[in-house]
Amino acid sequence: MSGSRQQSRSTASLRHRLAERGVDPALLMLLPGLVLAVALFVYPFSYGIGLTVQPTAEMQAQWGGGAFANYVAFFRDPFVFDSVWLTMRLALPAALFNVLASIPVAMVLRHKFRGKRLLTSLLVLPITLGTVLTAQGLLIFAGRQGWINRTLLEFGLIDEPLRLVNNYLGVMFSLVITGFPFAFLLISSYLSGIDPSLERAAKTLGAGWWQRFRRIILPLLAPGLATTFILTFVLAFSVFPSARLVGDAMGSTRVMSLMAFRAFGEQNDYAMASTIALMMGVVELLVVAAVLGLRSLLYRGTTGGKG
């Protein structure tokens, strides 16, 4: 816009010329955000990375590797390294389930019908519950003496209580309860961005409901599904309270955040705790990168609707 005017020597004031390059007093509005970001994220994060290469004397003696003893320990100590797999085993299926289960629900809730608002509210409500409240609810509802087991026993459908909490299943329930509303809301908004006349056009061209979904809706929705998957995966991957409260904290749900907490709170080894936390980030980044890589292969333009 401004380029042509500056072919010969500009006669505009310095302030005007700076403004044309995007430098103006409005930039000052960035300041509070920048200060907070540096103080609360950049500095602690860098400090944490620094900690990881300052292992304790015991770690160096036990695992070798000099300054990288913590990393050696992370990969060599099966008790620690297995937590990567244990976390993945929870987070991947939970994220996948939340995304896949949200699609049909969001599709149905696009249409107008009686009670739609009530149903939507009920589906979204769990988002307002904290993880601790969810965990407590699960313990009361699905525990050994919970309503489910008491009811099933009463009707003679089972002989002994089902183990629904304090194991892998309990954490999975909790991840679905907190993650599903989130995935549902996101996917609903992506769906509303697809022009409804596309489906009508596909109908008049002879496409049945599965073909319309498979050939039109799904390809247009896929980038949104990838984003939703990433967000719910990251949420599920950092699971901590429910892994401890409704899980099996030293067994099947020994997730990475629990391991980091153990190093920090029980062993007072800040350096090792930082290392585990950092590796958590690395694993998440790898999954995110893989999903984004797949997403870049998909159509990413406009979907014709209200965006």
């Binding site: 022009d195 006349s197 596309l198 009508r200 056009a201 109908k203 008049t204 159509y299 333009g301």
Partner: protein, 372 residues
């Protein structure tokens, strides 16, 4: 190509929340015909089209194709092609894949699909753009893809929902010619919805004028243009001057009316009565701008039928000038080859046979609250 003898709509109606969006539509369409549904927004023309396509279920009536009911079939089994106002092209598919979509749904062999897609794309002159996505095309090109996508299936019926309304004026004229050419070369039966009477007159073999969900008049462009049966249709057919008046006397099919609100309140006009009229009836007088003669003096020959007024607007329009003449509190529109003085006094006259006198009421059957 799937052909048929006739498509019959019998008492087709659609209600939305207790209001008739479309009611009692009876229409028989012969194969190869081009029918335009014409009316302002909200008149029910798009509802009629969506009912035909199967995108809206009917609340009354039935649709028969060669005597077989099709209104119970879902849209994907009717085999009609539809062109949408918003084009509704699949944004993630290239031009050729958009066009091929319907053929793929029919499960045709690959080679046959390729050949037919190529032919359809040639027909709309988009050969150079086959690999492009819709977002990379101009509005006119996108509309041509939409048309190719509908006609490649060689449907028994093509439904077009205001396909040109999103295009600029010049492109609209070009595409109009294009649609007419396609219709003539392919012989596709077409139902075309529009609010633009010029589009409807130039394209269609038959016009259906709708008002508040009901048919006002059905006829050929010539019939509607020359002899509208109500002032509502006349208004659509270029009778830009629609004046309220009262019948003074009638003789044969001629009626003398008095225009209220003119300068001296005593201007009398003689016109052709459309429908039964008697003295004292409230009527609407319809006159086309080009049927008015503008005279700057109340010469002898003008007689009692001259409407006096003052020139308030003069617009240059090429060969002719459009003139706005203020008479009393109404503005009359006329056309003249010579420029009158703005503010000057003029007299407007029109030949008796070009002045149409209609009953004021449009339809006794339409309840008053709906008519508003």
């Amino acid at each position: 190509m799937s052909t048929f003898e006739s498509l019959e709509l019998r008492g087709v109606g659609r209600r939305f929340g207790g209001v008739d969006a479309l009611a009692d539509l009876d229409l028989t369409i012969k194969a190869g015909e081009f029918v335009a549904l014409l009316g302002p927004s909200g008149c029910g023309k798009s509802t009629a089209l969506n009912c035909l396509a199967g995108l809206l279920p009917l609340t009354h009536g039935e649709i028969l194709l060669d005597g077989k009911r099709i209104d119970t079939l879902p849209p994907e089994r009717r085999g009609f092609g539809m062109v949408f106002q918003s084009y509704a092209l699949f944004p993630h598919l290239s031009v050729e894949k958009n066009v091929a979509f319907g053929l793929q749904m029919q499960g045709l062999p690959r080679a046959q699909i390729d050949a037919r897609v190529r032919k359809a794309i040639e027909l709309v002159k988009l050969d150079e753009h086959v690999k492009k996505l819709p977002g990379q095309l101009s509005g006119g090109q996108q509309q041509r893809v939409a048309i190719a996508r509908a006609v490649v299936l060689e449907p028994s019926l093509v439904l077009m929902d205001e396909p040109l309304s999103n295009l600029d004026a010049k492109l609209r004229l070009d595409m109009r010619t294009e649609i007419r050419r396609l219709h003539q070369s392919l012989g596709l039966t077409t139902i075309y919805v529009t609010h633009d009477q010029e589009e409807a007159l130039s394209l269609a073999d038959r016009l259906v004028v709708l008002r508040n969900g009901r048919v006002q008049q059905i006829g050929t462009p010539d019939e509607l243009y020359e002899s509208p049966t109500s002032w509502y249709v006349a208004d659509f057919m270029g009778y830009r001057n629609i004046l309220p008046a009262t019948v003074v006397s009638t003789s044969g099919d001629e009626a003398v009316v008095a225009l209220p609100g003119t300068a001296d309140g005593g201007v009398r006009l003689t016109g052709r009565a459309v429908g039964a009229l008697s003295a004292g009836d409230s009527v609407r007088v319809a006159i086309r701008p080009d049927d008015f003669s503008v005279s700057s003096s109340a010469a002898e020959g003008l007689g009692a039928g001259a409407i006096p007024g003052a020139v308030s607007v003069v617009e240059y329009q090429g060969r002719e000038l459009a003139v706005g003449v203020q008479t009393g509190d109404t503005m009359l529109h006329a056309r003249t080859p010579t420029a009158p003085q703005v503010g000057g006094a003029v007299w407007l006259t029109a030949p008796v046979e070009r002045v149409l006198v209609f009953p004021e009421s449009l339809d006794a059957a339409v309840p008053a609250e709906v008519a508003a």
